[in-house]
């Protein structure tokens, strides 16, 4: 086991009406982890991401970021705690330049009146419901707007600092030459990389990548594999990757979780998952198993998750 636990779900699940989109989902991401989440279409992978980032509120179970329960927190609050993501269908700010896309995410850590750490501490102690913390935050925002309107020296310095950070991230992702290009004019692969740069701008501890290689060619995929590992080491992140490209996901992930119909059907090292009959069945159907002489798993998957 590597670093401290950054993101943890305990039997988390969500139902939409009668549909169990995700059920009894357990996951743990530690610093330095590189884990994969796979499954056929509609298995609930992106739903899991949406739960982890606060887009949906889980109907069951618990989600913890750095030990803190975050059920019901808003996505931007969860992001401030250190969880960032990319999107399956690229969601860049299309009319903004590459630099501005990253700068949006680079929120300044310096707050004019009360420090962010102090407000976070208050929030933590009251599990996110302290009126004092909200008032302090509101005052911070108020002063911050005036600083922007009056163009104070401190504000100018901060802007310069943000710009420098954003440029650094563009450099890391190899996008420096696209700095002033509008996001919608970038080629597909670069748009994916820009999304990662933007996510890094929020100074995440955990980074969730939703199909980062979709639409990339073989060479780009190869580069991406190297890049993902490099990001983990350089920013000491915990990473969770949803990916359909088996070569990529088997190549980089140390542990893979397989979802099917919202249920975790397998978990473990890539080689083990690859040979798991349940996984093969979920992807290829039981007739494939039968014709290849592999053991057919029992039907009607139980809600119990056979964690390996």
């Amino acid at each position: 086991m590597s670093g401290e636990v950054l993101l943890q779900t305990v039997r988390a699940g969500i139902e939409f009406g009668g549909l169990r989109a995700l059920h009894g989902f357990d996951l743990e991401i530690r610093r330095g982890d590189l884990k994969g989440l796979i499954g056929p279409n509609g298995a609930g992978k992106t739903t899991a991401f949406n739960l982890l980032t606060g887009v949906y509120v889980p109907t069951h179970g618990e989600i913890r970021v750095c030990g803190e329960r975050v059920n019901g927190r808003q996505p931007h609050q969860i992001n401030h705690l250190g969880v960032a993501r990319t999107f399956q269908n690229i969601r860049l700010f299309r009319a903004l330049t590459a630099l501005d896309n990253v700068r949006v995410a680079c929120l300044s850590d310096e707050r004019p009146v009360f420090t962010r750490a102090r407000i976070d501490e208050l929030r933590r102690r009251s599990s996110g419901k302290s009126p004092v913390a909200e008032a302090m935050d509101a005052l911070n925002n108020y002063v911050d707007w005036w600083r922007a309107l009056l163009l104070t020296p401190g504000f100018q310095k901060e802007e310069a600092e943000l710009t420098r950070r954003a440029e650094e991230l563009l450099e890391v992702m190899g996008l420096s030459h696209r700095r002033d290009e509008r996001a919608r004019n970038l080629p597909y692969g670069e748009q994916r990389r820009l999304e990662i740069a933007r996510a890094l701008g929020t100074r995440p501890k955990v980074l969730l990548l939703d199909e980062p290689a979709a639409g990339m060619n073989t060479r780009e995929k190869g580069d991406l594999m190297v890049l993902i590992r490099q990001l983990r080491d350089q920013f000491s992140l915990g990473l969770l990757v949803i990916e359909h490209d088996m070569k990529l996901v088997m190549g980089i992930c140390e542990e893979i979780t397989v979802l099917d119909h919202g249920v975790t059907i397998a978990r473990g090292a890539p080689e083990r998952v690859r040979q798991d009959p349940k996984v093969i069945e979920a992807y290829l159907g039981d007739s494939y198993l039968a014709s290849h002489g592999l053991p057919v798993p029992p039907h009607a998957p139980t809600s119990e998750t056979p964690v390996t």
């Binding site: 887009v55 992001n79 700010f93 903004l96 501005d100 929120l107 701008g201």
Partner: protein, 343 residues
């Protein structure tokens, strides 16, 4: 130049330029009146552009906030017009009171904006349009039925303390605020919300908070515009703040290009002056000597012509005059001061 003063330089320049203008043309009543009408519309358009353009929300009740500002400032001025601040000459005292009532009108409108915006901006989509539409009508009906505000007759006798300088200084202020917002973290967050709210939220932008703040700022300046309006028209009545007025402002913002501050300014000036210009044009074509009835008929055609021109603009440039860009983005690159726009 010390960095601390950089923020103040444009203000000083604006004061100097406007003071000169005031001395040169401030005494011609028709010009001042027209310039004031134009100025108020520019303030309305630029402030609405902060919400409808930069943040991508759709508010169609700007006349309501203008009414709140106009009636608050107008009533306050009526109440304190017999008072004078001791130790100050009469004119200065009047002006101080004028500025005070403007601020009061702006703050009243901002409070309304907060109350209206907080519940409706939590939601996505068209709810804001519905709520602001309702708000505008409610305000109009309320003032129409309160003796305090003179019912349908409106308020008359508000001291005419406004001036060319005052109106256009407010134009300058709202423009400065809009531009400073665009150039800051806050402006980028607003643009991000306009582009993709889900992604903005996921990147740590408190979308509800930002939308409400943009809405409050916009409402504040609508209130100030109303306050200015109350101090140069002879009478303010509910008929000045109808739904049609709100739509007029929306049209200015859309015609100028959603998100373009200079576009909003140009469109507001152009669309305010266009009916006036058409009137003069038609009067010349029709000629007064062929009889007043023809001149009258020609005068009636100008509104349809205004409409047709708008339709043509939308057909030719659906993104508005400047799109999301500013006027200097369209200038040739070699001109001094031309730089790539922020976005």
């Amino acid at each position: 130049m010390p960095a601390a003063l950089r923020g103040l330089v444009p203000v000083l320049i604006a004061i100097a330029v406007l003071a000169v203008l005031q001395v040169l043309v401030g005494s011609s009543p028709f010009f001042v009146y027209l310039a004031s009408i134009v100025g108020v519309n520019v303030v309305l358009a630029v402030s609405l552009n902060i919400v409808n353009g930069m943040t991508g929300q759709f508010s169609i009740g700007h006349a309501g906030f203008m009414a709140v500002g106009a009636y608050t400032a107008g009533k306050l001025s009526l109440l304190i017009k017999d008072l004078a601040i001791s130790g100050l000459p009469g004119v200065v005292s009047d002006q101080v009171q004028f500025v005070g009532t403007l601020l009061a009108g702006g703050i009243a409108a901002a409070v309304c904006g907060f109350v209206v915006g907080l519940p409706s901006l939590r939601l996505r989509g068209d709810y804001l349009a519905i709520v602001t539409l309702g708000f505008g009508e409610i305000i109009r009906v309320i003032v129409q039925n309160l003796d305090l505000f003179g019912r349908a007759l409106g308020l008359s006798g508000v001291p005419q303390t406004s001036s060319l300088f005052a109106v256009w200084f407010c134009v300058f202020l709202v423009t400065l605020v809009a531009r400073r917002i665009v150039g800051s973290t806050h402006g980028r967050s607003l643009w991000a919300i306009r582009e993709d709210e889900v992604a903005a939220e996921a990147m740590g932008v408190n979308t509800t908070g930002y939308k409400v703040r943009a809405f409050v700022i916009s409402s504040f300046f609508a209130g100030v515009a109303g306050g200015l309006f109350a101090h140069f028209v002879p009478i303010i009545n509910p008929g000045s703040f109808t739904f049609v007025k709100s739509i007029e402002v929306v049209v200015m913002v859309v015609a100028g290009g959603l998100g373009s501050t200079t576009g909003a300014i140009v469109a507001a000036v152009f669309l305010t002056l266009l009916p006036e210009a058409l009137r003069t044009l038609f009067l010349q074509v029709g000629g007064l000597d062929t009889g007043a009835s023809l001149a009258q008929k020609v005068d009636q055609i100008r509104m349809p012509v205004y409409g047709i021109l708008l339709v043509i603009l939308m057909l030719v440039r659906p993104q508005g005059l400047f799109g999301t860009r500013e006027i200097w983005d369209l200038l040739p690159r070699w001109l001094p001061g031309t730089r790539r726009g922020l976005r």
